[in-house]
Symmetry: C2
DNA sequence: GAAGGGACTTGAACACGTTCAAATTCCAAC
DNA sequence: GTTGGAATTTGAACGTGTTCAAGTCCCTTC
């Protein structure tokens, strides 16, 4: 696992000198990924088009997957930039959720085929591209905070404990939708659109239902379950800042 | 995609003559996968240990993933064989569900690391190993029918329409649990065990709750949603037996 | 038993991701 | 302006999955 600690941190040096080269490689890779897909974009091609040597590309990016990671971060930023304005004019929870999810699909639309390959490495727990990996923490937090925005900007009424967990749950749900979207072979992924339009109200209704007294026991159980679900983040320090 | 139709069906010939060789390769591959994991098990090694040439292995299995597929099918059969006796002595829905899920984890336990790589190709919509692919139909149906058994053998009371969809939903949930399990780095995947023990009662309670009149609207919505979710199986025939 | 043809088998060759020792460039300190 | 070392850059080389043209084997047909 983490036994490559001996090497003096190749890939991803923070120094300023090579930053330009680094960006050049990223730009080229992102473009080629979009143009030709994952497999057709070889490291040799990226290096060639970027005007650097093969080994040099590996100096900045430890693997092809790290380039995918960079691609992923760009997409996430794009989604965020498009989503925030999209929900600015409504305080309806369901509406806000629906719009954010649609923006997700909108932005990813051009990369549907590419995403099929991307999801491969994303599903690997050992891959840095995994949405649950430490390397993805930045993008993940950003995405969760977007759903935090969805909740806090709305006038939804719900169980207070759920309110704290909801953003993360919504993010998880969006991961599920993305997984569905990847498998969606309907024209223009219309089925996913339908799913979003249908699922958002259901989620809204379920969330509001957590205030019902009848459902209190179940609500409690579900909330506890979510706590169990949450994997402790990997860290070498023992104890950490406990819950 | 399916443009390799020109070749005279290499890989997977149904003829009897090479069946022995085929089995030999599968056996060797499964053993090596279990012993050394996915990456360490090279096609050359499989071929060598099986006593055939590299090209010969590719004659029977179009790719390394097809070997994984074979591995997957064995696991599924093993799970089924272990699960059925395990639920024979109780008619409690939650209990039955819990046991089946535990058997799942039991059987897969030895392959936890390997599963991390397996899930990679499993997540790829284009891969035959994907649980949603036509190639996996047999294993999938078998698995769903196991959950059908869980439901029909229990004395659970629930909305009648849900009863029809529940087995598939449970299968889907088990996929989710497997995904969680793959990411579970707690010792002996204890966290997944905990998840199962906690989630089973919640599911049981939720399922029984579908009979509550208060929840009728939400139940309806959720059931319709599931209908939308269901991807139409890929098929060249137009129309099909639509609802 | 010879001929034919399909099933099966082979190993070399290819392209790719990745590694690495060696070279080059750059900049600060003297 | 020379020097030392770190940052950067290079291209050859390795091991892998996969392909393929060329065989070899085995059974049917005459």
């Amino acid at each position: 696992m983490t036994e490559s600690e001996t090497r003096p941190t190749p890939a991803n040096p923070g120094s300023p000198r090579g930053e330009q080269t680094r960006q050049l490689i990223v730009d080229t890779a992102v473009r080629l990924f979009a143009e030709r897909g994952y497999e057709q974009t070889t490291m040799r091609l990226v290096a060639g088009e970027a005007g650097v040597s093969l080994g040099n590309a590996y100096y900045y990016f430890g693997s092809k997957e790290h380039l995918v990671q960079a691609f992923y971060e760009r997409i996430q930023a794009e989604i965020r930039a498009a989503a925030l304005p999209a929900i600015a004019d409504t305080r309806d929870f369901t509406g806000r959720l629906r719009r954010v999810l649609h923006v997700n699909v909108d932005v990813m639309a051009s990369y549907h085929e590419f995403a099929g390959k991307l999801i491969r490495t994303a599903a690997d727990p050992a891959s840095p591209v995994s949405p649950f990996s430490p390397e993805s923490a930045v993008a993940r937090e950003a995405s969760i905070s977007l759903f935090q925005e969805v909740v806090s900007g709305s006038k939804v009424r719900l169980d207070s404990r759920l309110r704290a967990q909801l953003p993360e749950l919504l993010w998880l749900a969006s991961m599920g939708i993305t997984l569905y979207w990847v498998h969606d072979n309907s024209p223009a992924q219309a089925r996913t659109r339908l799913l979003i339009d249908r699922a958002a109200p259901v989620v809204g209704r379920l969330v509001e239902a957590t205030r019902l007294t009848v459902l209190r026991p179940i609500t409690n159980e579900v909330l506890e379950l979510v706590d169990v679900l949450r994997q402790p983040r990997v860290s070498s320090t023992k104890g950490g800042s406990g819950r």
